[in-house]
């Protein structure tokens, strides 16, 4: 098959702006090949490069004596004493879920679980924060059904208890629902695995499911505003296979115990490209891949397709060569693919070959570090109009209205579709405040919560950002947990609009101030921008996921209100 010629249209279709293309020419000193163009577009899109948000993310407090690893790896790592650590992160799958609710949400759960077990942690808890359009909107019912079933379908089969989350409805999400998935895992603090490759001539190993043409171009989609060409972009959704993911998790954790793993990285958006570049870059090495060795499930895949495929349930690893046989045996046991697809090299090159033909030859460190970074203009959002007089309402009528409203009603319909107790360590399942999971075999427990109130953030991004953190903090302390650290999933509209960028900047300032004051550093996170349909943005929704430690499960503050108990209001 002939590669298409590089035309301005093709460049635009890859989401690259003319000045960004100029920059590519500058870096490589020649026109890119088709495969190289694909690689650049994957590395430079908002989703992978954080080009609009990086400047502001850097301002967030990420340190503390409890932090073992902050942002930058697959997930954050926090010390919980006794040589153990909790590993967690939250990530969005908004656009895919809107297009194919079941599979979009399912693969979102799959992605976040992989982020956690790639670091050497066994997932022990999941949460999900969901924002849907008005209940009267024609698409809402189908989206709610599909998303909730997809989250359950994946998490339940994989075998992780879902212990918390949020569900909200608001017309601002009519054309753009939000699906934010959180996962946390447990690891030994001295057995955390990172992505930096080391050593020259080390085998690069492909693990897990086979590669198909899934979502070629998907990473570009996740960062593009929706419009009516959405139909054409549809086939970019993948089908998740939680059964394979479960085996991949067991095999990976077993493999890690053999001492065979030098570094490991999950293949998320733009799978092979991002994972290989990241491993090489962090280790100061080059990488050579021989694509004919990649396990594929379809015939005649091109280098472009293999480098951009988003097939799920895959990982890339740098292996200690002397352990090859032992490592392969583990993957054979679990009936998963294991293939050496390349090696680390000393030169700073990302060299992609297919049947001996060079398809891409790029300076690897430049590819990783030269992504554009924007200081997007922003304006202070206008102060909201004063509320005016609030009509007096009978307190009981008010209470009834609140309890009956979709946003405050019980969410059993949702969380009863999730296995909240698998692993038999759930000490508090969803229903009231934070979920609690025991640290298996100890007296300790971890509490999890996810919070944000988007209308506050819209009214005042700084205060709304603070409020989200404060609510998470209160949810943890209310069950008797000591808050440890947090993760964020920042969902906003189009950052190229100064008002939206203003919301983003304000929310980050608020979150930063609050996590500093409450000593709940941000150890991982995710940014989802361009959540707009036909120019209308969602409510600014910076979801905060937070984790707290309970030294002794016996000390959990209960919520069983009984006759004779005294009710106290604490605080202002």
């Amino acid at each position: 098959m002939q590669d298409p010629a590089i035309t301005p249209d093709l460049i635009a279709a890859h989401g690259l702006k003319p000045d960004e293309y100029e920059r590519i020419l500058e870096i490589i000193g020649r026109a890119p090949t088709f495969t190289e163009l694909g690689i650049f577009s994957a590395m430079w899109n908002e989703h992978c490069s954080y080009k609009s948000s990086k400047k502001w993310l850097r301002t967030l407090p990420t340190d503390g004596p409890q932090v073992i690893c902050g942002p930058g790896e697959n997930a954050g790592v926090v010390d919980i004493g006794d040589g153990q650590a909790v590993v967690f992160k939250m990530e969005s799958h908004n656009h895919p879920s809107y297009i194919e609710p079941y599979q979009g949400a399912a693969t979102g759960v799959g992605g976040i679980l992989r982020d956690v077990f790639t670091m050497g942690a066994r997932p022990i808890a999941a949460m999900n924060s969901l924002s849907f359009g008005a209940t009267t909107h024609r698409k809402t019912r189908q989206l709610v059904n599909g998303v909730v079933e997809g989250i359950g379908g994946y998490g339940n089969c994989f075998g992780v208890p879902t212990v918390g989350g949020e569900v909200r409805f608001h017309a601002a999400y009519n054309g753009n629902c939000l699906v934010n998935a959180f996962a946390a895992g447990l690891a030994d603090a001295d057995a955390i695995f990172y992505s930096a490759a080391s050593g020259v001539g080390m085998p690069v190993v492909y693990l897990g499911a086979k590669t198909g043409r899934d979502g070629v171009g998907g990473a570009t989609m996740a960062s593009a505003e929706f419009d009516d060409t959405i139909e054409e972009k549809r086939p970019t959704v993948q089908v998740g296979d939680p059964f394979t993911e479960k085996r991949l998790m067991e095999a990976t954790l077993e493999l890690m115990k053999t001492g065979a793993v030098i570094s490991i990285q999950d293949m998320g958006a733009a799978g092979l490209t991002c994972s290989a570049v990241e491993m090489g870059d962090k280790g100061g090495l080059g990488i050579r891949l021989d694509l004919e060795r990649v396990p594929v499930r379809e015939q005649n895949m091109t280098a472009y397709e293999m480098m951009l495929s988003e097939s799920q349930e895959r990982m890339l690893m740098v292996l200690r060569p002397e352990k090859e046989a032992e490592a392969k045996a583990v993957f054979d046991k679990w009936d998963l693919d294991f293939a050496i697809v390349g090696e680390t090299i000393a030169e700073d090159r990302f060299l992609i070959q297919l049947n001996g033909e060079t398809k891409a030859d790029l300076p690897l460190s430049k590819l990783a570090s030269s992504a554009p970074e924007y200081d997007r203009p922003w304006v202070e959002p206008a102060a909201p109009a004063p509320l005016g007089d609030v009509t007096a309402i009978d307190p009981i009528a008010g209470l009834t209205a609140l309890i009956a409203s979709v946003n405050y009603a019980g969410k059993q319909w949702v969380y009863e579709q999730y296995d909240t107790m698998v692993m038999a360590d759930s000490a508090r399942v969803p229903g009231l405040g934070a979920g609690i999971v025991r640290v298996h075999g100890t007296d300790k427990a971890l509490a999890f919560t996810s919070d944000v109130t988007p209308r506050y953030v819209r009214a005042n991004p700084v205060e709304g950002g603070k409020q989200a953190v404060a609510e998470a903090y209160r949810n943890l302390t209310a069950v008797g947990a000591r808050p440890l650290a947090s993760t964020d999933n920042l969902n906003f509209g189009n950052p190229e609009k100064p008002e939206i960028m203003g919301q983003f900047v304000g929310a980050i300032k608020g979150i930063g101030a609050a996590v500093a004051a409450l000593d709940m550093p941000i150890v991982s996170g995710n940014v989802s921008l361009y959540n707009e349909t036909d120019g209308a943005a969602i409510l600014p929704t910076p979801t905060i996921g937070a984790v707290g430690l309970i030294e002794n499960v016996a000390d959990i503050i209960g919520c069983d209100v009984r006759d004779g108990h005294v009710l106290l209001v604490v605080g202002d």
Binding site: Y102, D214, R234, P235
Partner: protein, 76 residues
């Protein structure tokens, strides 16, 4: 009158069910099973006079998710 609708995952879309079945058939000793795809069949009992176009409309609106699935309609 009756209509029969087949809904299959589009070619190229991963079919984990089909794969699992293929694997299991192999383990049971059935040889030469090169590929398996699993889909849904929906049999509709319709009032007289229903047309193929109506059934197609049902597929588009409900029975199939055309993002990942293709369908075919047979009136019987």
């Amino acid at each position: 009158m009756k209509a029969r609708v087949h809904v299959m995952l589009k070619t190229g879309v991963l079919d984990p069910q089909g794969e699992a079945v293929r694997h299991a058939l192999g383990a049971l000793g059935f040889e030469g099973v090169n590929g398996v795809r699993q889909g849904k069949v929906i049999e509709l009992d319709l009032a007289e006079g229903a047309t193929e176009d109506q059934v197609k409309d049902m597929c588009e609106k409900l029975l199939a998710n055309t993002v990942i699935e293709s369908y075919s309609v047979e009136l019987v």
